[in-house]
């Protein structure tokens, strides 16, 4: 499998996905 970090847009998409995951984590942590 290709490393997404080798592609600029793969990196950006990875960042967006990580943001969404962490958003859910934070909502769960604060009980929202």
């Amino acid at each position: 499998m290709k490393n997404p970090l080798d592609s600029l847009w793969g990196s950006v998409i990875s960042g967006v996905v990580l943001t969404a995951v962490l958003y859910v984590v934070v909502k769960l942590m604060i009980g929202g």
């Binding site: 970090l5 960042g15 934070v26 942590m29």
Partner: protein, 167 residues
């Protein structure tokens, strides 16, 4: 009042200003320089980038990163541990942003800068070591691009979407 102005007025100004320089240069490296250096290497004009641009860009990049982190720590003040240990619901979002920023700062000073010193000839390195340093610095820089997106989201959301009175 004076301390409040220094911490939350000047401190936030410095945090955002230095942060713009840090992340601006990170995006310059990744959105512009990687492709530009590749094209310049192909037509034999890359020497100037390594000699004149990268040392200056990396100087402002690494010091802006440190100033951003220190100003952010000063902004958190007595709530520093509340954020980093997620002890208070109101500080969870900024805590996530602070942890991401801290990992990114480590990447800058602990991974990117030592490897760039080898690539740019500031530290002795064989061709094989330079090739390895180039790959490691590239991946650490790209990892910081990934981390910068949630970092910026949680930094801004801590004063917006997740701001304390809404909890």
């Amino acid at each position: 009042m004076t301390m409040d102005f220094i911490q939350h007025g000047l401190g936030r100004w410095l945090h955002i200003g230095a942060g713009v320089m840090w992340i601006g240069l990170l995006y310059y490296f990744n959105f512009v320089n990687v492709a530009a250096a590749k094209a310049a290497t192909a037509d034999g004009t890359a020497a100037g980038i390594g000699k004149h641009i990268m040392p200056r860009a990396l100087l402002f990049f690494r010091w802006a990163a440190l100033v951003t982190w220190l100003a952010g720590a000063a902004l958190l003040g007595s709530h520093f541990l509340d954020a980093f240990l997620f002890r208070d619901r109101a500080y969870v979002a900024i805590g996530i942003g602070a942890w991401l920023g801290t990992i990114m700062l480590f990447n800058v000073w602990g991974v990117i800068w030592p490897n760039q010193q080898k690539i740019l000839g500031m530290k002795p390195a064989s061709d094989e070591e330079k090739a390895k340093a180039r790959r490691v610095a590239f991946l650490a820089s790209r990892a910081n691009v990934v981390l910068s997106l949630p970092m910026l989201f949680f930094m801004s959301a801590s004063g917006g979407l997740f701001r304390a009175p809404m909890l």
